[in-house]
């Protein structure tokens, strides 16, 4: 399913399939060691589909991971090879994926610690700020952190779920453009410094308009004109104008 969008959002996606998997694991409080492959595959494919509907530039890595997940899932459905079982226990088909997820998760913890160390250090002023750093006016209010693409997609799918059924069958007219929505969002964010994500869709009349607004939000984030923030993981997303403008 694809929409005839005149404007393709060229959002550089720096988050990969492992980020999505860890996001899903964290979101549903799953234990990595006992990764429920069927459930996680299903959820993964849902997000992938949403990204395809939005016509985002999905890296091939996402498709490779989808194939890997399906392969692991089918391997787990096979009865264990009896001849091999006698020799030595067959390796869990999930083992390599679990190893990679755990490894990456630990680097994410390291990144969090670095972030904390940076924050502590930034409370000390020096005569000259360390070289190689651009100076900017932005002063992030802790403990806000930036919402990831997957947080935004989760919020979008919530908004889409609330659209009344009958509106799903609207006649698709190209009456909304991403360009037009960008102009509207700019105006809105100029008037209101902080708007909750869901409020931006309140006036939307259908699925198509919601998707158009969402793409406009992504574009403003890409242009660094807007920031999507959360108070804590999985909490409500707040959109705000980037203070650098």
């Amino acid at each position: 399913m694809s929409y005839p969008l005149s404007y393709r959002v060229r959002l550089p996606i720096f988050e990969g399939p492992l980020d999505l998997l860890l996001f899903l694991i964290k979101q549903s409080h799953i234990d990595i060691v006992n990764l429920p492959i069927a459930r996680i595959t299903e959820q993964y494919l849902e997000y992938l589909k949403l990204m395809q509907v939005l016509d985002l530039e999905i890296a091939g890595d996402f498709l490779v991971m989808a194939a890997t997940l399906i392969q692991i899932k089918s391997k787990m459905l096979l009865p264990p090879d009896e001849t091999a079982a006698e020799e030595k226990e067959e390796e869990d088909p999930r083992a390599e994926l679990i190893r990679r997820l755990m490894e990456y998760q630990q680097f994410k913890a390291a990144a969090e610690r670095l972030h904390e160390m940076e924050r502590r250090r930034s409370a000390m002023f020096t005569r000259v700020p360390p070289e190689g750093q651009a100076l900017e006016a932005e002063w992030a209010e802790e403990p806000f952190f930036e919402a990831s693409l997957f947080d935004l997609l989760t919020a979008l799918s919530d908004v889409l779920k609330r659209v009344p059924k009958e509106l799903f069958h609207e006649i698709i007219q190209d009456e909304f453009t991403v360009e037009q929505k960008i102009v509207e969002l700019r105006r809105r964010l100029a008037a209101e410094p902080q708007v909750s994500f869901s409020k931006l869709f309140e006036a939307a009349k259908g699925k198509m308009e919601i998707i158009t607004i969402f793409l406009a939000i992504l574009e403003l984030i890409r242009l660094k004109e807007a920031i999507a923030r959360q108070q804590e993981a999985f909490s409500e997303i707040v959109m705000m104008r980037s203070q650098t403008i």
Binding site: P12, I13, F14, E15, G16, P17, L18, D19, H29, D31, I32, V33, N34, A59, D61, M65, I98, R99, R100, M102, E103, Y104, Q105, Q106, F107, K108, A109, A110, A111, E112, R113, L114, H115, M117, E118, R120, R121, S122, A123, M124, F125, T126, R127, V128, P129, P130, E131, G132, Q133, A134, L135, E136, A137, E138, W139, A140, F145, E146, S148
Partner: protein, 218 residues
Amino acid sequence: MTDTEAKAIIEAALFAAEKPLTISELRSAVEEYGENQIQDLALQLQSECVALGRGVRLVEVAGGWQVVTDPALAQVLGRIYRKVRPARLSRPGMETLAIIAYRQPITKSEIEEIRGVDVDGVLKSLLERSIVQIVGRKEGVGRPLLYGTTEVFLERFGLKSLEHLPSISELQATLQAHEAQRPEGVPVGQGMVQDHLTQGQNETTQTTQTTQTTDRPD
């Protein structure tokens, strides 16, 4: 020269410096003192600043000493210096940096293998900000470039040296703290793989910087 005079020189040198000064750099101004004595004097100055409630502090960072403002004054100083803030790193940027910091020297494709995604854009931005640098080439096919962190990295994160990066056990604690928030928790990171960051080396305190140019044991 008395200790008081030597300390005054050290203080003045650090005050005038744009970057952290190493002990040997300080020594060129306080020649009569050995490196250990200078280190001791710096430590004395450090505690004096705290004891006297001065507005500045001496910190050991990036292999040297530096005069910085008291972190407790950040808010009030922010009214004057509001604009002097380093551009923030994105989450993917911070994660890529963490991988480089712990696994250096490391190639781009090794980073991508861990992150599972292309890191071109993120790596470019880290290079542009001098947080990471090219440190050489890996032996073998194609001789790919190797990346490592810089002194800017140490200074930005307030690290004395790479050995002072949080250890694996500290990181495990971070992960387990997250775990505690979960309804039922089997601690993640125990059992299966004990040491992901340093490629299975059984070191918990000294993290990396042992030049690892070999392939990951898979």
